[in-house]
């Protein structure tokens, strides 16, 4: 075991896979000699060479095309989009091409690509860096969308993503990169994609969340505990496909739920979680399933992030609403 930040755990996962499989290639803007703008690929080019870890021209669309071409010729590309707000430049490659490749070839060709990209607010980035666009990806058949919230989860999920033979979008929340350290095994391990994790057990209300909101929810749960409300916190970890079984089992136990996301109310995946609960467990519900989200505006100017992003206080309020419904 070692104490690692999430970014170190991510680097460790990539190092493990580079070592394990010579078809794994890592590329993107500044991921080579520079080691990535967040140091996620620090030291990897030096250790594995320029044929395995390399920089590309500054063109996200081209990077997506490169990954697809390498994927169908037998490689296992791990491409980086420097910030997920730049997704729009490469939307066709991700949502119009790699997501469809197995289907369009009747199952004869695959694109085993991992798209790594940082996102998320709270660190005062400039425009189009922090936007939560996982909702767009979750609406795309053929993709899996993974969002870890801890160093341990990040390593196991990234190794599983790289080994998956279909495209996986792996989104890394910038605020979580170095915000805390946790125990991470040095040896390899995987965490199954599509499985949620109960980060805190409780019996009164279920909070379903992911990304940075996992920590805000845990903080809210501690405060609520003081008032005698026992909260269960489910970290989805994979936002597409959803781990329906874990969600429903929890809701059937607590009879009350809220869904918490950093994205705007009209975006993200919270509405989907609410719909699934309504379809499958409405008779267990003592109150409507409420959502805690950001307002439906463009992502805020950096200086006003604090008042725009949802936080633990919003979560406490929502839990109290469903408890007192």
């Amino acid at each position: 075991m070692a104490q690692m930040t999430m970014i170190q755990a991510i680097t460790d996962a990539m190092r493990n896979e580079l070592k394990k499989n010579e078809d794994v290639l890592i590329f993107g803007e500044d991921v080579g000699q520079n080691g990535g703008v967040f140091r996620a690929t620090e030291g990897l080019q030096k250790e594995f060479g320029e044929d395995r870890v390399f920089d590309t021209p500054l063109a996200e669309s081209g990077i997506g095309g490169l990954a697809i071409g390498l994927g169908i010729t037998g490689f296992r590309p791990v491409m980086e989009i420097q910030f997920f707000g730049f997704l729009f430049e490469v939307m066709d490659s991700v949502a119009g091409q790699m997501s469809r490749w197995r289907y369009r070839s009747g199952g004869t060709q695959t694109t085993p690509i991992t798209v790594r990209s940082p996102f998320g607010g709270g660190v005062k980035t400039p425009e189009m860096h922090a936007d939560s666009l996982e909702g767009l990806m979750a609406q795309t058949p053929g993709l899996k969308v993974v969002i870890p919230s801890t160093p341990y989860d990040a390593k196991g999920l990234l190794i599983a993503s790289i080994r998956d033979n279909d495209p996986v979008v792996f989104l890394e929340h910038m605020k979580l990169y170095r915000s805390f350290r946790a125990e991470v095994p040095e040896e390899e391990y995987t965490i199954e994609l599509g499985k949620a994790d109960i980060k805190r057990e409780g019996k009164d209300v279920t909070i379903i969340t992911y990304g940075a909101m996992v920590h805000a929810s845990l903080k809210a749960a501690e405060e609520l505990e003081k008032d005698g409300v026992d909260v269960e916190v489910i970290d989805l970890m994979t936002v597409s496909p959803l781990d329906i079984d874990t969600i429903i089992a929890s809701v059937e136990k607590t009879n009350r739920a809220i869904v918490v996301q950093e994205a705007q109310k009209q975006a993200g995946i919270a509405a989907n979680v609410v719909a699934e609960i309504t379809e499958r467990a409405i008779l267990s519900l003592e109150a409507p399933v409420l959502r805690v989200t950001a307002p439906d505006t463009v992502y805020p100017f950096a200086a006003m992030e604090d008042s725009w992003l949802p936080d633990h206080k919003d979560i406490v309020d929502a839990v109290n609403k469903v408890v007192n419904f």
Partner: protein
């Protein structure tokens, strides 16, 4: 000063030609080394494709084919480039480039299934180095840079070739793909089949550039403009591009000057709305079959009998292929659920059960 620079650049992209419209060799020094049999095979493929195009249009009108983008006029451009390839080379076709992948090994009935919108169209025989024809114009260009890098890294002695049209050269992905291929120095060949129209928009409205070939300059790669109605010229430049690519001398952009005699697609396009009959007549005179037929007849390598044999063979093959396409099983929702992922996620497992139950009723 700037005008002069432009003239200097454009002066470097003169049209390469070997056979003129009369089938006469105008560039003896550049004549490719092709055996009599190879020359005849080239002609066979072009005639075959012309007949196939006529039949496909007719079958489409009868409702026995779906999406179809006519190819008549582009036989030299399509088959001349393809003839220069090795069986292991990769082809990333656009939606019009079906002849190339069929002559690379895709069974004709699968091309028809693709046209109809059937899963069988993309279920390629193992080891066939092609991808499903690309509908998103330009996407094949960036993907080709990736395939070519893959071939280089795997140490294969092969190239990746891709095709787009004159309109496609305006896309961002067109530029990015060439630029990536140049930066990584990979064995890629980019073919722009300039048939002068992107649906109704003439090439002059795509760009102020006098040639598309000169766009290679922006990527720092070789660019060449060739008479796309001259199969020997097309073959020669592609073969040279392939050799350069395999020698590590980088990718090439080839612009073939060609024409489509038919509409853009069979989905209701009417070329008389945007094309004059004078222009059609001018390009009919340049027909790649007419000039190559004259050339071969001059060498006593071709005659009516040989041509009729090909025509009959094409018709028979098409009949058989349509029959085979007809016998493909009707698609079920469970078929397409089954090819979404290697391992179905929970939502699709659930839907698989639902549709299995529905389909068993």
């Amino acid at each position: 000063m700037s005008t002069k620079t432009l003239e200097q650049v454009e002066g470097k992209f003169e049209t390469f030609q070997i056979l003129n419209e009369e089938g006469e060799v105008v560039n003896e020094a550049a004549m490719p080394e092709l055996s009599d049999e190879e020359l005849q095979e080239l002609m066979r493929r072009m005639v075959y494709t012309r007949i196939w195009d006529q039949r496909a249009i007719s079958l489409n009108r009868q409702g026995r084919l779906g999406f179809y983008a006519p190819v008549a006029g582009q036989e030299a451009s399509m088959l001349g480039t393809h003839f220069a390839l090795d069986k292991e080379d990769w082809i990333l076709p656009g939606y019009r480039d079906i002849p190339q992948i069929v002559f690379h090994g895709l069974p004709l009935h699968q091309a028809f299934l693709w046209s109809r919108g059937h899963i069988g169209g993309g279920k390629f025989p193992e080891g066939l180095n092609i991808v499903v024809p690309q509908i998103i114009i330009g996407a094949q260009i960036i993907q080709t840079a990736g395939v070519a890098l893959g071939l280089k890294r795997k140490g294969k002695n092969n190239v990746a070739i891709t095709y787009t049209g004159d309109g496609g050269a305006s896309q961002g992905d067109f530029y990015e793909g060439m630029n990536f291929a140049g930066a990584f120095n990979v064995p890629a060949i980019f073919v722009v089949q300039n048939n002068r129209f992107a649906i109704s928009v003439p090439v002059e409205k795509q760009s102020a550039a006098k040639t598309i070939a000169q766009k290679a300059t922006a990527a720092g790669i070789e660019g060449i403009q060739v008479d796309g109605m001259d199969v020997l010229a097309v073959y020669t430049v592609t073969k040279q591009a392939r050799e350069r690519a395999l020698n590590g001398e980088g990718p090439t952009l080839i612009e073939t000057l060609t024409y489509r005699y038919g509409p853009h697609t069979m989905a209701g396009d009417d070329p008389t709305r945007y094309r004059t009959s004078d222009l059609d007549d001018e390009w009919t005179k340049k027909d790649p079959l007419i000039r190559f037929r004259k050339f071969l007849e001059g060498k006593k390598l071709w005659n009516e009998e040989k041509e009729n044999e090909v025509v009959e063979k094409a018709k028979e093959d098409i009949k058989a292929a349509i029959k085979e396409a007809d016998s493909a099983p009707k698609q079920k929702v469970t078929d397409i659920i089954g090819v979404m992922f290697e391992q179905l996620p929970a939502n699709l497992r659930e839907q698989m059960e639902e549709y299995t139950a529905k389909e068993s009723k």
